[in-house]
Symmetry: C2
Subunit: 612 residues, 2 copies
């Protein structure tokens, strides 16, 4: 291996040693690590989904809040249907791609691109929302850090970026603890809570004094409010598609491993969401600014100040921040698939020497960091943007699966399940758009078609280029001679080097001097006898002190006289030993390069002269 | 003239048509335009200098404020001495350069560089302070604009930059009205004021009700307070050196025209400063947040709401903003002189096609804009930074003139005047440092030595480069052959173009393909029969998917085998028709260029392929 550049050294330090292609399979996910890496998004939403439902219902008072378990069961059923549909998708598409692939193949390109745009926005929001929520959990514990929440959020995004640039397996190890820790402590909470509330008749929790509760007015619990509560609860469903999209990251047999992991995830998510919702109802937990619902339940069941209570809080914080990692697995992979179809820049296809899609990881980090900065790291401002993308991709994906199975002649329950799922998620999409649109979701509603247009324009460009590059029916260019011009402002070693190099590439080399002073011309001509070699010296006049314009005019003249020649401009270029020395050199070379960039058959070459 | 690029069109629109070198003298300043362009800094300080004196004295009450005319006379005397000294400097140094040249030639390089650093900082502050004060005058009239003062300040800086990039004569025309208008209205104010207060015994002005006045306690008027008042009043002296520095911009005979202009300017400045100070005393004007001293006097003498009063206010505003233009004449010129001595990057020597030192103008605008942003466009935060530079350069300049004349054997009053001036300005420098240091001047005290170090390092670098470039005692490089490598990832038109170009510059051309797939290699070898020409196809293996590392290793191998050969890497480079298409191409070429930049005898060439 060649010696490393300074940049190379820094990269090694940050992202570790390269991984050989032959080792690729060793980096794949098992069911255990797959659950850790890909389910944190779906599972972590349990931490706030119940609270989002209760927040809407509480305007109707305690009686209305008793609807929460029913709504949770509805959402759980929906989640089960969606999970089942994605299980079929995994089997039909073991190469991954999720909603994008399914929608593109079965509904057409526009649907596919809409799904891709929706998912890419969604993954970015997953990072932003999860990191912001995780930071909020920390700053709740350490209020003095509250003014630094944007900086903290950006630091987390930076850490996630580096962790993912280092490679998948190391990430999996890093994320196993919080995921399994969260599952374990939540299940303990639910089991202990059910035992104590149903068998041991525990008294309800009372955080908020009754006189602070909103006026109980069941008349205000309109259908719209129930729909809003339902839409809010659907945050529990974000991240369900992650495993389906990440199928190729699993160890072979990829499809079977991914499908099994998906079922486990769905079961765990449903159990936790319904469990927390039932407990919240039984314990009369009420959303408060000062304390989350999960924390209220934890304090009631485990007791405030106990070790288990703190474990619950820490694990909730960790899984919220690490949920962002799901997106770090899926955004770059989806981007690479879309780029493979030439709808996104091909850089997203490059796998780095750690087998990660480095450019996707960096783009995701930049976009999520931008969202955190723009929304001041505030979770509640970000959440309304979050669900349009999720449910648009669900709807497109399930509609696609339904059409695919019908075309394949499949009938019976699976087809009906997909149809049912498509209709249900479509309805939820409309509910989310209607209830969340005014709160910020309109940004995403506008952004998705814009992204689709960008995808199309990118594809058109690549198609045009491919057309212009094809060798079919193409007459190759005739042999050309090469005229070399070396712009000089005097003679010194770097110029002599450039002249000698020019002589090695052509027999027609001309040094071009722009005259600003007749005495200097005479001196230059004298020196030319010693150093010029076979190079002719051409002197051009400049009435406007510009070096560029006479040079461009001379090039135009040659182009007119010698239509069948390359013109190569050779420039000596200083390569300084310190970066800031660049500021002291080569400005003229840059100008010349810029001016000649758009001329066909003109090639600009820099001959490096290394300064010590 | 060759056709303009899009950038060229925009430049023409903003800065106008180029000016031929032959027309250079037509752009020079007359005495009349010279006063307009170069004196606005010195004259505009009259607008706030008296107020700065009174602000300190008012802690001692009305009795203490009676010291103001005495202090003003002291400062006027100092201004006269300094102006006289600069008049001698103009005669001794008609080529310009001011304190930098004088200090360098007579006190040595370090003193010269200190003076240069002091002046460059000072010119930048002139722009920032004057623009901020001008904006403050506008926002006082239109309070709703107050929240936009940073944006307004930046807009003024932008206008000044464009005006100066367009050329000197047009600037002079633009600035004649406010300068002469300000002089005329101020002189009218003083004449009318003197007549009315001395001959017609006008009653004193009363802006501030007596009960709001500070407690009159003469005991608080310490020597330190008197010194601070004196130091504050010395803001009246900023800008005196501008004409001396700008001597070469005058029409021939440059020295005589500049010297005459300097005397006129000093006389006008002294008259106005002393006149305003005496009137302020006679009319018992007291500094107030709501109204400036000049406005108070104007209202008392002309009457509030009269046309003359508004003319006074408008002219004050205009000259404050346009005072910044003095710095736009001198900063770029000084930078070009320092760059000619190779202490600053040589770009500052480039005169653009409008005969202006474009890079200096742009650098000044960037620095002043930065100051406005950092200090939130607040004049009072900027003023303490302002006088260290002025008096350091005064002291160095006068000390230099004293030594020069002594060495030349001159004796008598002129020499003593210079010595006296040097001692006086040196004492003022100490007073300013002591009284203004804690208020922010320490930033400049730290910055000046830092800049001097940067100047020295720049010069050392250029000296080292010159040494490495000298042809004396140099054995020119032996003739070398040229081996051309073309990295390819497939065959298409751009690659074929690059191959044909490569054949035109060498007989040893090798296409290098990094193998990631044996089938692709076989396909490529088949296509090579049609398109390869005389180019050999070299296939390299890549265990880490990296294109770079096998390529670098192959180059290292050639370097070892053929020590006496250039290696030219030819890359096809797409030149897209739209700027954003750049993002979709050429990333690999950039990587390869970056990796090979530091290898001697390796030349990287891009063969443009133009996309339509």
């Amino acid at each position: 291996m060649s010696p490393l550049t300074p940049f190379g050294h820094a990269k090694r330090l940050l992202v570790g040693r390269p991984i050989s292609s032959e080792l690729a399979h060793h980096e794949r996910l098992t069911k255990t690590t797959g659950l850790a890496v890909l389910s944190s998004d779906a599972l972590s939403s349990v931490a706030y989904a119940t609270e989002e439902v209760l927040r809407v219902l509480m305007v109707g008072g305690l009686a209305a809040m008793a609807y929460a378990p029913t709504i949770a069961l509805l959402i759980a059923a929906l989640l089960g249907i969606v999970a089942f549909s994605y299980r079929q998708t995994i089997k039909a598409y073991p190469q991954g791609g999720g909603a994008y692939i399914v929608a593109k193949e079965n509904l057409g390109e526009w649907a596919g691109l809409s799904a891709a745009a929706a998912l890419l926005i969604d993954y970015t929001l997953t990072v932003a929302v999860s990191v912001a929520a995780g930071v909020a959990a920390i700053t709740s514990a350490f209020p003095s850090l509250h003014i630094n929440r944007v900086e903290l959020g950006l630091a987390f995004v930076g850490l996630l970026m580096l962790g993912n640039l280092r490679g998948i397996r190391e990430s999996a190890r890093l994320f196993a603890l919080p995921t399994y820790g969260f599952i374990a402590v939540m299940c303990s909470l639910i089991v202990a809570g059910f035992y104590r509330t149903f068998a041991a008749s525990m008294p309800p929790v009372a955080v908020v004094p009754v006189d602070v509760l909103p006026t109980f007015d069941t008349a205000t619990l309109t259908t719209f409010a129930l729909l809003t509560a339902f839409a809010n609860g659907c945050t529990a469903m974000t991240g369900v598609e992650a495993i389906s999209d990440g199928t190729p990251a699993f160890k072979p047999p990829e499809a079977r491993n991914a499908a099994a992991t998906l079922l486990v995830m769905a079961a765990v998510a449903i159990t936790m969401f319904v469990g927390i919702s039932v407990l919240a109802d039984r314990l009369h937990a009420i959303p408060a600014v000062s304390e989350t619902i999960v924390s209220q339940i934890g304090r009631a069941v485990f007791g405030g100040g106990t070790v288990l209570y703190y474990v619950l809080q820490v694990m909730t914080t960790l899984i919220l921040v690490l949920a962002a990692n799901t997106a770090y697995a899926d955004f770059p992979r989806l981007a690479s698939i879309v780029a493979r179809d030439r709808f996104m820049p091909r850089q997203f296809m490059n796998q780095g020497d750690k087998l990660a899609f480095s450019n996707g990881i960096i783009a995701l980090s930049a976009a999520a960091g931008g969202l955190i900065v723009v929304f001041g790291g505030d979770t509640h401002q970000l959440i309304p943007l979050y669900m349009i993308g999720v449910f648009l991709s669900f709807t497109l994906s399930q509609t696609g699966m339904f059409l695919k199975q019908r075309r394949a002649g499949v009938s019976g329950p699976p087809v009906l399940l997909n149809l049912f799922g498509a209709i249900l998620t479509g309805i939820v999409l409309l509910i989310v758009g209607a209830t969340k649109g005014p709160e910020g979701a309109w940004i995403v509603i506008v952004l998705i078609p814009c992204l689709v247009v960008v995808f199309r324009k990118t594809r058109e460009h690549y198609d045009t280029v491919a057309h212009q590059l094809t060798l079919r029916d193409w007459t190759p260019p005739a042999r050309r001679t090469n005229i070399v011009l070396v712009p000089v402002s005097g003679v010194q070693r770097a110029v002599v080097h450039a002249l000698r190099y020019s002589e090695s590439i052509s027999t027609d080399v001309r040094a071009v001097y722009v005259n600003d002073n007749p005495q200097a011309v005479a001196a230059l001509q004298a020196e030319w006898k010693t150093w010029g070699g076979s190079v002719k010296l051409v002197v051009l006049d400049s009435p406007f002190r510009s070096v560029m314009e006479p040079l461009l005019a001379y090039i135009a003249l040659i182009e007119k006289e010698r239509t069948n020649a390359y013109i190569t401009i050779v420039l000596p270029e200083f390569v300084p030993s310190r970066w800031w020395h660049h500021l002291l050199h080569n400005q003229r070379a840059l100008l010349i390069k810029g001016a000649l960039l758009f001329r066909p058959n003109v090639v600009v070459t820099s001959v490096p002269f290394h300064l010590s």
